[in-house]
């Protein structure tokens, strides 16, 4: 199976030959990968060199933490690669979806449904781990789909409200 791993725009062709052999560019490497204790913590031996790192899924990418560094890796097989190269960029609808950046408690929602807001205006005050965070509007617009109120707990990435941009800004 052939893959392309992308990190920061750099491409690494990787071919998985069998469970213990990998072709990396032109080199055939002997590998052994083990999840330590069944966790997303991996010990990798490659031609005798020993590495250990965390590998976490993140949407359609992988986050690798290795020797104190963090890498975002996109792994594509050949079919996905062809698909992604034909995709065109579709611009978004221009809405701003305010998602909770962290789990926490909504302290205040100083805006109302349908209310016009300025750029930088506070939309939600969220408390997490005893710190209050002011979440602000990235642009002038109108609040819609308000789904939280003061006193509620929210999960990370939970949709809290939307800011539709001002019409002339679209």
């Amino acid at each position: 199976m052939k893959y392309i791993a992308e990190i920061d725009g750099m491409e690494f062709p990787v071919e998985i030959v069998d469970e213990h052999h990998i072709r990396f560019g032109d080199d055939l490497i002997e590998v052994d990968l083990a999840a330590v204790g069944g966790q997303p913590l991996y010990s990798l031996l490659m031609d005798g060199e020993s590495y250990e790192g965390y590998v976490y899924p993140d949407d359609n990418r992988w986050q690798v933490h290795l020797r104190g560094q963090f890498y975002t890796v996109r792994v594509l097989d050949e079919r996905e690669r062809r698909l992604s190269s034909t995709k065109t960029n579709i611009s978004g609808s221009g809405e701003f979806l305010l998602k909770a950046p962290m789990p926490g408690l909504v302290i205040a929602v100083p805006v109302a449904e349908g209310q016009p807001v300025e750029k930088g205006q506070i939309l939600v005050i969220l408390e997490s781990m005893k710190m209050q965070n002011e979440l602000r509007s990235p642009w002038a617009g109108t609040v819609s789909r308000l789904r939280v109120k003061a006193g509620e707990s929210v999960e990370q990435k939970q949709h809290m409200l939307t800011v539709m941009p001002k019409v002339e800004a679209v």
Partner: protein, 503 residues
């Protein structure tokens, strides 16, 4: 000596205090919230009592309930740890009223130091330099603060009168932005401390945060155990502390001068037990009293490593009425110690708090390493409490050896299931200004970036690419097959269910 001590706290500090009690042959009583039933401090204790639901205001902040437990179980003293009730004069007084010894200073000392404005007025009166601000002017209204601000000059800080740990604190660069910042500081102070009062303080440029550990017995003896440098901070939360301070270094007369002032500040409020005098030090080595923490501090192990003393045991002995067992001239400092606070914050995502269950952890050990923690495999990180889960404290004969050991220990440290700031510490330990000891309190926020700092370091792009590809490959294979229930696992021993989020 006390027979039984109730520890009115949780997490690593509750465990730390239990250790001191055990070594002194004192029984320990834990109190816990619903979230903490399985916590180490509950399981390590001789007795443990549920005091309420998970939010701190319903459990660890309920002083009357805790005192009630202490009475019923026959404890003769209460140790408050840090945070929660540690700096509440009313709690200290209520303990005394209930016939319990509060392991800390007298209510009057907490009151005069705990109200930061009053503290600054008190020490200023004793001739100790303080940072210019609205100290000693009591609780002022917004319009009063706004009219005083130009006299202090910008930039300045809004600080919570009952504050600590950066809560209720805001930087102000101009009069225009001040009203909104005042409102948010007051709101945060109100929710964190139940007191929305704030004061203003001049911001000292290039300031270093250097603090002195104080021990004071009930017989008028006060000594200091030297300094800790705590300038590596983010949003006024300390992240790394070390002793000796790289700024003071081998300048013994500078250390002696600051130490004497610290002792004098403690004496000005008739202080007993352990405390910390915090100073800001500018480039010209002028130092200003910042505040006094009338409690045990998170970073006390740094001092323990270089002095060989056990600060918590000293605290208990002092509270029991004993004289200090050391004179100032007996205190010697050896080597260098560094503490890294391990928080559940993702340094790659603007230090966003991370919650989740710890599914695996492996602690560093070996020469010079100490870990103070309250977490274990299966521990659930909840949003109710602060994000500190562990402290890595390292000692070395020299600062260079200590840094090398910190690096080695951080590389060994594994925590799975929740994101931590370990990569932040690893990056910091490779950053030139830190290695050179040339940093100030703004360094993390203004000159440090995970990405820039990483540029000087060896990259393992190829290894990362390979690891991710092999994991992705397995996930794809796994999806393509339906595994029989009794099916053998792959020799690669894959982790969990691939669709399961590990965040």
């Amino acid at each position: 000596m006390f027979k039984k001590i109730l520890i009115a706290n949780r997490g690593e500090i509750a465990v730390r205090i239990q250790r001191a009690c055990r070594e002194l042959g004192i029984e320990t009583v834990a109190v816990f919230s619903e979230a903490d039933r399985q916590s180490m401090h509950v399981r390590f204790a001789d007795e443990a009592y549920l005091i309420g639901p998970s939010p701190a205001r319903d459990s660890y902040l309920r002083g009357e309930k805790i005192i009630d437990v202490a009475r019923k179980c026959g404890a003769d003293a209460v140790h408050p740890g840090y945070g929660f009730l540690a700096e509440r004069a009313d709690f200290s007084a209520a303990c005394a009223d209930a016939g319990l010894v509060f392991i800390g200073p007298k209510p009057s000392s907490i009151a005069s130091m705990g109200d930061k404005a009053m503290a600054r007025a008190t020490v200023a009166h004793a001739g100790i330099p303080v940072v210019p601000g609205t100290e000693g002017q009591g609780s002022l209204r917004d319009d009063e603060l706004l009219s005083l601000a130009p006299g202090i000059g910008f930039p300045l800080l809004i600080k919570a009168t009952s504050g600590g740990g950066g809560k209720g604190m805001r930087d102000v660069n101009s009069l225009e932005e001040m009203p909104e910042l005042l409102a948010s500081a007051r709101r945060e102070a109100e929710s964190s401390f139940g007191d929305g009062n704030v004061y203003l303080e001049k911001l000292i440029p290039d300031a270093r945060h250097i603090e002195f550990q104080i021990l004071a017995d009930q017989h008028g003896n006060i000594i200091h155990l030297g300094e800790r440098e705590c300038s590596i901070q983010r949003r006024h939360q300390k992240l790394i502390e070390e002793a000796p301070s790289p700024l003071i270094g081998t300048d013994e007369s500078f250390r002696r001068r600051m130490g004497e002032v610290a002792v004098q500040a403690a004496r000005s409020v008739d202080y007993t037990n352990t405390g910390t005098i915090e100073f800001l030090v500018d480039k010209q080595r002028n130092f200003y009293f910042l505040e006094m923490n009338t409690r045990l501090q998170v970073e006390h192990p740094v001092t323990e490593m270089v002095t060989g003393l056990d600060v918590v045991i000293e605290q208990i002995r002092i509270a029991n009425g004993w004289k200090l067992s050391h004179r100032q001239e007996d205190i010697r400092w050896r080597g260098a110690a560094i503490e890294c606070r391990i928080n559940t914050e993702d340094p790659y995502n603007n230090f966003t708090p991370s919650t989740g269950r710890i599914t695996m952890t492996q602690l560093p050990t070996g020469p010079g390493i100490r870990i103070d923690t309250g977490v274990y495999i299966g521990f659930e990180i909840s949003p109710y409490y602060d994000p500190l889960i562990s402290k890595l404290i390292v000692w070395g004969e020299t600062r260079a050896q200590a840094i090398a050991r910190v690096r080695r220990a951080l590389e060994e440290y594994r925590i799975v299931g929740v994101r931590t700031n370990i990569p932040f510490h690893q990056t910091m330990m490779a950053t030139y200004p830190f290695i050179a000891g040339e940093y100030d309190t703004r360094f993390v926020e203004e000159q440090f970036a995970m990405i820039d700092a990483a540029e000087n370091r060896e990259l393992f792009l190829d290894v990362a690419a390979l690891m991710a590809t092999m994991v992705a490959h397995h996930q794809m294979e796994h999806r393509a097959h339906i595994y029989p229930r009794t099916g053998k696992r792959s020799p690669w021993q894959w982790a969990g269910h691939p669709q399961e989020p590990h965040r």
